[in-house]
């Protein structure tokens, strides 16, 4: 019997050995694969449960922070200002991932940059968590002014410093409260998200930098730059007053706004925004120069931005316009396929304001470690050279005349007599079978002699907006925001 018992013992031992080998396979050999399996959210929960840095505005308002939640995730992400910075901070959701700065600066916020990791080693035995804070270039006070100025109209306000590309305010309406997506009750979060996605106005999508709109006459800044730079036109060029212009390759004439007669010298057609003159200009300088200049101003591409997936603005290609000169003609005054984000148009204004150089836009000023020590500062970087400094001065003069004696005269007189430079736009959509509708635009900068702020305001086409032109609808909004900005950051 003993022989059998010994053999039985060996057999049982072999069984346990197999379990041991399998345990090595599961816990060591294949562990990484299992940890990264799509149905395994342990890693995600761990990251979600960790302490996370705050997002703070330039004027020291906390717009995202982590607080103890007391549930299985230990931490709850909170956005104290609600929807105000929703499109900038984005959200951190367990189910739907992250967006905004939460996404682009995740490594800093989660303490996963090399610098923060090194500090972690130092603090191995202390209770301190090594996560980084993100300091925005945006100011909460200006963001609030932008929000109040735009009100309940669909649209967007983008204010930035043309000298550095630092975004000072970036508000879109409709917006959403990121707290609703960061909750730990996933059923509720799912319902909120479904609700937001069902909204045809798409509040989840920041229309300030993720959605393109027909630019309307604000694009004439680009066309005027191309025309003057080409040498074909000068400030003394004269455009005989007319109510229509018929480009080559078609019999359909182009008309001015509301069929009016419009013409005069170069500055005159710019400040009065004559469509016929700019259609003629685009066709005369030709597709190559027009497309070149549009691309110099950042069209046909997306700007480098520290928020996720900025939209690519569009103008058109040389090949396309060679065969479609009428489309080049209407593209030249911001109709047709000429589309840009409000951020993109703010950058056009910023380019003129900054002596022709467009700086890379950014919303993050710097990142800070747990002791408040500086980790990294966003250094201003030139992005595009739109025009030469001389031409920039000329364009500034033209835009000043728009404010003093043109389409923006009504609405762009800044407090304290500060001189602003601007260009308005009324992008006519004329959707088929519906009443005409237009986006109201204005791009501007101030003070004209030494610009510190550039702005783009876009109010999306709705039946109410259509009544006015860019100047009367978007102008007052831009004025309020510029006034507030100049007061908040004097000199």
């Amino acid at each position: 019997m003993n022989r059998q018992i010994r053999r039985l013992t060996i057999a049982l031992l072999a069984c346990f050995t197999v379990v041991f080998i399998q345990l090595n396979v599961v816990q060591v050999v294949r562990a990484d694969r299992y940890n990264q399996s799509p149905t395994n959210d342990r890693e995600a929960v761990r990251d979600f449960s960790r302490d996370r840095g705050s997002i703070i505005t330039a004027d020291q308002v906390v717009v995202a922070e982590s607080i103890d939640s007391g549930d299985r995730f230990k931490k709850q992400r909170r956005y104290p200002t609600g929807a105000l910075f929703g499109h900038v901070t984005g959200y951190l959701s367990f189910v739907y991932g992250s967006d905004g700065v939460e996404r682009t600066y995740n490594d800093v916020l989660a303490g996963r940059t090399p610098e923060l990791q090194l500090e972690n080693l130092d603090d191995l035995f202390s209770d301190r968590s090594n996560v980084g804070d993100v300091i925005l270039t945006l100011r909460a006070d200006l963001q609030q002014v932008a929000r109040d100025a735009l009100g309940e109209q669909e649209g967007s306000v983008v204010l930035l410093d043309p000298r550095s590309g630092a975004v000072k305010a970036m508000w879109s309406f409709p917006a959403y409260d990121p707290n609703l997506l960061a909750g730990h009750d996933f059923d509720e979060v799912g319902a909120v998200r479904t609700f937001l996605l069902a909204d045809p106005r798409n509040p989840l999508l920041a229309n300030s930098y993720r959605e393109n709109y027909l630019t309307g006459s604000t694009f004439k800044v680009v066309t005027a730059s191309a025309a003057l730079e080409s040498g074909v036109y000068t400030l003394d060029s004269f455009f005989p007053p007319t109510d229509s212009y018929t480009p080559p390759q078609t019999d359909n004439p182009i008309q001015n706004y509301e069929g009016s007669t419009c013409g005069g010298t170069f500055p005159e057609v710019f400040r009065r925004s004559c469509n016929t003159a700019f259609a003629e200009m685009s066709v005369t300088v030709g597709p190559e120069i027009m497309v070149d200049k549009a691309e110099d101003y950042g069209f046909n591409m997306a700007p480098p931005f520290d928020l996720p997936r900025p939209a690519e603005s569009s103008f058109g290609t040389v090949d396309f316009f060679e065969d479609n000169l009428p489309l080049l003609a209407i593209g030249g005054f911001g109709q047709g396929e000429t589309m840009a984000t409000p951020l993109g148009m703010a950058l056009v204004a910023a380019g003129v304001a900054n002596g022709g150089v467009i700086m890379e836009p950014h919303v993050v000023a710097e990142t800070r470690g747990p002791d408040g020590n500086l980790l990294e500062r966003t250094e201003p970087q030139p992005w595009r050279t739109a025009i030469e400094p001389d031409l920039a001065r000329t364009m500034t003069d033209l835009m000043v005349q728009v404010v003093n004696d043109g389409t923006a005269r009504c609405c762009m007189q800044l407090a304290g007599g500060v001189q602003a430079a601007a260009k308005t736009g009324t992008a006519q959509l004329n959707p088929e079978g519906e009443p005409p509708a237009s986006h109201a635009w204005i791009i501007a900068f101030a003070p004209a002699e030494a610009p510190r702020f550039a702005i783009a305001v876009m109010v999306k086409a709705t039946p109410e907006v259509t009544a006015g032109t860019g100047g009367t609808v978007a102008g007052p909004i831009a004025r309020q925001v510029l006034d507030a900005a100049l007061a908040a950051e004097p000199g």
């Binding site: 018992i5 346990f16 345990l23 299992y34 940890n35």
Partner: protein, 463 residues
């Protein structure tokens, strides 16, 4: 003396087990709440008190028994408790009560069963008790269960799983029955074609009991117990008859039964499908297993640390899947320690079986150790996907009163047998018994008895 040495080793080891248990308990609380539990000192006192009580029982009632079995059981029990306490404080309270009851039952078993061989005399009683326990859950109004198995009995406020105790009762019956008839069964005598089979009248009762128990377990959908019990009987037949043909017979029967069960029962097919590819049903039937695999992988080599993992993602983790929780929080190292503890227990139990002199004790020790080892393997292998998952508890570790209680009784029986093996007086007692037997025979011869009609029982010293 050997006995004294074994007992002092045991004392040292149980204190060590108590310290490890308390350490694990404290660390789990620290990991979970960043605070040491307030009741740490009384906890340590109670754990040491309980284990020392069991140890003192051994000193009085089984002084010559093996010195590592109790500490190993205590370690597994303590580790399991620390994990349960970390998962659910209510369950931990119940488990603590059951541990107290179980150690009481351990002492009581050693007290009542003074000689293991006495059990053999009641083999039919044990057969009856075993069968009765098995069918209890099927009695209307008494038994209950869930969709997957009907294994529970409710008497008054107490719910228990009679199957856990049935295993021991039936092991005693089979060991006793085979001790009595093993030579007759081995000899065969029933010619059937080329086969020399055991005579039906010897084999019959065993087959009936075996088949009946298996049928009941299969009827209750208790695959784990069926497998365990099947293995137990095959092993006992093989050891007692020393014929490998029983292994072949068992393997054939198992294969047939497995194929039959697979083709007939959808729940068996489900188990096999989930075993082969749990990810195919990661949100359904495979969820528990997938989560267990993720928990083990998450633990890696060193584990997340006690209280720092997330084992409650595995449904019912405190029962059959407690090993996955250990693997997650203590890593490969901790899980290996658990496997090692079972290997050592199986080794110690089998050593008792080898050293035992009486065939019944040998068989019973081997049978009880087989129950312990195979049950541990079935669930460890199930959780790690070595074999299809069949729900049984991990002895001494899993949450559950019936499991804990029955395993401590099993342990007490092993200790009882071990004690009789190691008893220094055993040899002399045997000499005395032999002397008395020869004396009786001499007396009979002297009395001029014509024919010795009643030979001595076959259960003597094996050749």
């Amino acid at each position: 003396m050997i006995a004294a040495e074994r007992r002092s080793t045991e004392l040292g080891l149980v204190v060590l087990a108590a310290l490890i248990t308390t350490g694990a308990y404290a660390l789990a609380a620290l990991g979970r709440t960043a605070d040491l539990p307030a009741d740490l000192a009384p906890f340590l006192g109670i754990v040491i008190g309980l284990l020392v009580a069991a140890h003192v029982t051994n000193r009085f009632l089984a002084p010559n028994a093996d010195g590592v079995l109790l500490p190993l059981a205590a370690l597994l029990n303590g580790l399991g408790y620390a994990i349960i306490a970390r998962l659910d404080t209510d369950l931990a309270g119940l488990q603590a009560t059951w541990t107290l009851v179980s150690i009481g039952a351990y002492a009581l078993t050693l007290l009542v069963v003074r000689r293991a061989t006495d059990l053999a005399r009641y083999k039919w009683t044990f057969a009856f008790i075993g069968m009765a326990l098995l069918v209890m859950p099927l009695v209307p109004g008494l038994g209950f269960g869930n969709a997957s198995a009907r294994l529970w009995v409710s008497i008054g406020p107490i719910n228990f799983q009679p199957g856990e105790f049935a295993k021991i009762a039936l092991a005693i019956f089979f060991a006793a029955y085979l001790t009595e008839r093993r030579e007759l069964i081995a000899a065969g005598g029933w010619k059937l074609g080329p086969f020399n089979l055991p005579e039906p009248r010897h084999m019959g009762p065993l087959l009936v009991a075996w088949a009946a128990s298996l049928l009941v377990m299969i009827g209750q959908k208790d695959l784990g117990s069926s497998l365990l019990f099947f293995a137990l009987v095959v092993v006992l037949l093989w050891i007692s008859t020393e014929r490998a043909s029983f292994l072949v017979f068992g393997a054939f029967l198992f294969a047939t039964g497995a194929v039959l069960a697979w083709s007939q029962f959808s729940h068996v097919q489900d188990r096999v499908d989930v075993w082969l590819d749990p990810w195919a049903q990661a949100e359904g039937l495979g969820y528990q297993l997938v989560q267990a695999v993720y928990a083990l992988a998450w633990g890696g080599t060193t584990g997340t640390g006690l209280g720092l993992g997330d084992p409650s993602r595995i449904p019912e983790v405190q029962n059959d899947f407690i090993f996955a929780a250990i693997g997650e929080e203590l890593g490969l190292l901790g899980a290996t320690a658990v496997i090692a503890a079972f290997v050592l227990m199986v080794g110690a139990g089998m050593r008792v079986a080898v050293q035992a002199e009486r065939p019944f004790e040998k068989l019973l020790a081997a049978g009880l150790t087989t129950i312990l080892g195979v049950q541990a393997f079935i669930i460890l292998g199930g959780v790690t996907r070595v074999v299809p998952l069949t729900g049984v508890t991990l002895p001494f570790v899993s949450y559950g009163g019936s499991s804990l209680l029955s395993n401590y009784i099993l342990l007490a029986l092993l200790m009882r047998i071990s004690d009789s093996v190691g008893r220094p007086t055993a040899g002399t007692a045997r000499v005395g018994w032999r002397a008395r037997r020869s004396q009786r025979r001499a007396d009979r011869r002297a009395a001029g008895a014509t024919a010795a009609t009643a030979p001595s029982t076959p259960g003597g010293v094996p050749a």
